[in-house]
């Protein structure tokens, strides 16, 4: 039985003739896509956790100054926000990323003990803290990590706090966090009288008005009542707050560099391959192959490198995400899940990388003079 030769089979044989080079090239694009899957997946999971944080508590709007990380509002503005007719509750809050031990840093929130934000927490042991006292409640993930339970103490920024309860919040951002009275947070952050944001819960929308319209109307009303603040829907704040933006920037930046290295690897491999196969390309042209056939062959090889590297990269990236979700330093903000959209996006980027990297070598191969290519030694 005679073996059949297909176009893709021919491309595969060409790639496989230089196994080591092909495998090294695959390694490069695998790392690029792996970094993209892991880092961008991590930053998106981080954003998703923020959104869940808002929605779990029932927050509709976050009122901030300009930049969520550096925002500093007077706590007294709460009175004006609460006076807006659509607003049911407006809770002042502070949050920051603080080193709890040399190895563990965590999000620390300051809320008033009466805040509705605390109502969604389930206490696994102990009780809520009281305002005006050096008391904290600790998320269960962090409590496990720090080996703390209700009744223990924890030193934060030089102040010894008593752990009054351990809670489960439903999001990794809460379960890996510390929550303390707002006044205590203001004291250790030197922000007396200041807050980073107000979380606003709206009254139910009037019948006949859509939720989105209602939220937009409330935003305008708050911004009119308190000049100089931004009132953003919870979803926007989840996507645009400083920590998430920073995570997105670092993830995309790092991934882009890794992808660029992968693309350069493919481009180098294909350019070398075309160079080495100059005479063979001349033979193909002599056999009647059009320039477009040569382009298709080289692009098929480059795309195959991108596709296979992309599949390996997705596996590696998913493994990386699982690792991030398991590490104590990142477990509080990472999720091991990868959305199907992110996977498709990663695969498309891998394929596009192959096509992009193969474009010039393919063009060069197609424009070789058949006679000169046949004479090439």
């Amino acid at each position: 039985m005679a073996a059949q030769l297909s176009f893709t089979g021919f491309a595969w044989k060409n790639l496989w003739r230089r196994r080591l080079r092909t495998l090294l090239t695959l390694g490069g694009i695998t790392m690029g896509i792996g970094a993209f899957v892991a880092l961008v997946g991590f930053s998106r999971a981080f954003e998703h956790e923020w959104l869940r944080l808002y929605t779990n508590a029932g927050t509709d709007i976050a009122v901030v100054e300009t930049n969520f990380l550096n925002t500093s509002l007077n706590q007294s503005l709460g009175t004006k926000i609460r006076a807006v007719s659509e607003v049911e509750r407006a809770e002042p809050m502070i949050f920051n990323l603080i080193d709890l031990t040399p190895d563990v840093n965590a999000l620390v929130y300051g809320w008033e003990a009466s805040s509705y934000e605390l109502d969604s927490l389930t206490y696994l042991s102990g009780r809520r803290f009281a305002d005006g006292k050096p008391e904290i409640i600790v998320g269960n993930l962090l409590a496990d990590d720090l080996k703390k339970k209700a009744g223990d103490t924890l030193s934060i920024q030089g102040v010894v706090f008593t752990v009054t309860g351990v809670f489960h919040g439903g999001t990794a951002l809460e379960d890996g966090a510390v929550i303390m009275p707002l006044d205590q947070m203001q004291a250790i952050s030197s922000m007396e009288g200041k807050v980073t944001a107000f979380h606003v819960k709206l009254r139910p929308p009037p019948s006949g008005e859509s939720y989105d319209n209602y939220v937009k109307r409330a935003e305008r009303a708050i911004e009119a009542a308190v000049p100089g603040v931004h009132a953003d829907p919870a979803a926007d704040r989840a996507a645009n707050n400083g920590l998430v933006s920073l995570a997105h920037s670092v993830a995309w930046g790092t991934s882009a560099i890794a992808l660029l290295i992968g693309i350069l690897g493919i481009a180098n491999t294909m350019a070398m391959s075309v160079f080495e196969r100059t005479r063979e390309i001349g033979v193909l042209r002599a056999l009647g192959w059009k320039g477009s056939h040569v382009i298709l062959l080289i692009l098929t090889e480059a795309t195959a490198l991108g596709l296979v590297g992309g599949l390996f990269g997705i596996a590696a990236g998913w493994g990386g995400l699982r690792l991030l979700a398991a590490l104590p330093q990142t477990a509080s903000v990472a999720s091991a899940s990868v959305s199907p959209v992110h996977l498709v996006e990663s695969l498309l980027i891998a394929i596009a990388s192959g096509v992009f990297a193969g474009a010039y070598p393919a063009w060069r191969g197609a424009h070789l003079s058949p006679v000169e290519a046949l004479r090439y030694e």
Partner: protein, 221 residues
């Protein structure tokens, strides 16, 4: 009288801004089914003429006509080569990563044919060349004579009207040379194909019914 299958009219091929002239005005006509040998010393322009006739290169001046129509450029030349011409080279030019039967099929990848048809035709051609037992071997597992037979099968893959052979016995011993020439002559006679052979071996040239001699880029009288 029918128009020639191939005709060269005042072919000039120059390189290096005209400082080197490989062909200096060649006129010749080859009839369908004819067996022609082109001879001449090294550098005389015989391979260049063969490349022009096969649409592998374009002349600097003059033109090549196929059945009375000038060869075009680009895609037209590609189509001409894939459908009308089979090339055979001195160095065989088989692709080292492909088995013999795959080397024959590679020529058919340029035209629309099913994979099954390609494989069957390649196998039949190799069987015709006496290589039935060797079709799944790679080029480095074949003798020089066997490689050239694979190359002939590849040249026949798309059932061309013209076979152009550039020193087809140049890398072969006398026994294999005779065998290859016997095969080419048989193909030309049985299929009524046009066969043009470039050679510097006068013994081979003398067996062709027609002999074109080239010297310094011109046909000798």
């Amino acid at each position: 009288m029918n128009s020639p299958i191939l005709e060269a009219r005042n072919l000039v091929k120059s390189y290096d801004d005209g400082r080197v002239q490989a062909l200096r005005g060649v006129d010749t006509a080859i009839q369908a089914g004819e067996y022609v040998a082109i001879t001449g010393p090294s550098g005389s322009g015989k391979s260049t003429l063969l490349h022009m006739l096969g649409g592998l290169d374009s002349p600097s001046e003059g033109k090549v006509l196929f059945r009375g129509s000038p060869l075009g450029n680009g895609a037209d030349l590609d189509r001409f080569r894939s459908q009308q011409v089979g090339f055979i080279f001195q160095a065989f030019h088989l692709l080292p990563t492909l088995r013999a039967v795959e080397n024959v099929q590679v020529a058919m990848l340029a035209v629309r044919q099913s994979g099954n048809h390609r494989a069957q035709r390649a196998a039949a051609l190799l069987e015709e060349m006496g290589l039935k037992e060797r079709m799944n071997h790679y080029p480095n597992e074949l003798s020089a004579g066997e490689r050239q037979r694979v190359a002939i099968a590849r040249a026949l893959a798309n059932d061309p009207a013209i076979l152009l052979a550039d020193e087809p016995t140049g890398n072969l011993d006398s026994v294999n040379s005779a065998h290859i020439m016997e095969i080419l002559r048989g193909i030309q006679q049985q299929r009524g194909m046009t066969l043009v052979i470039v050679t510097h071996e006068l013994e081979i040239a003398s067996r062709a019914p027609r002999h074109i001699r080239i010297r310094d880029g011109r046909i000798e009288a």
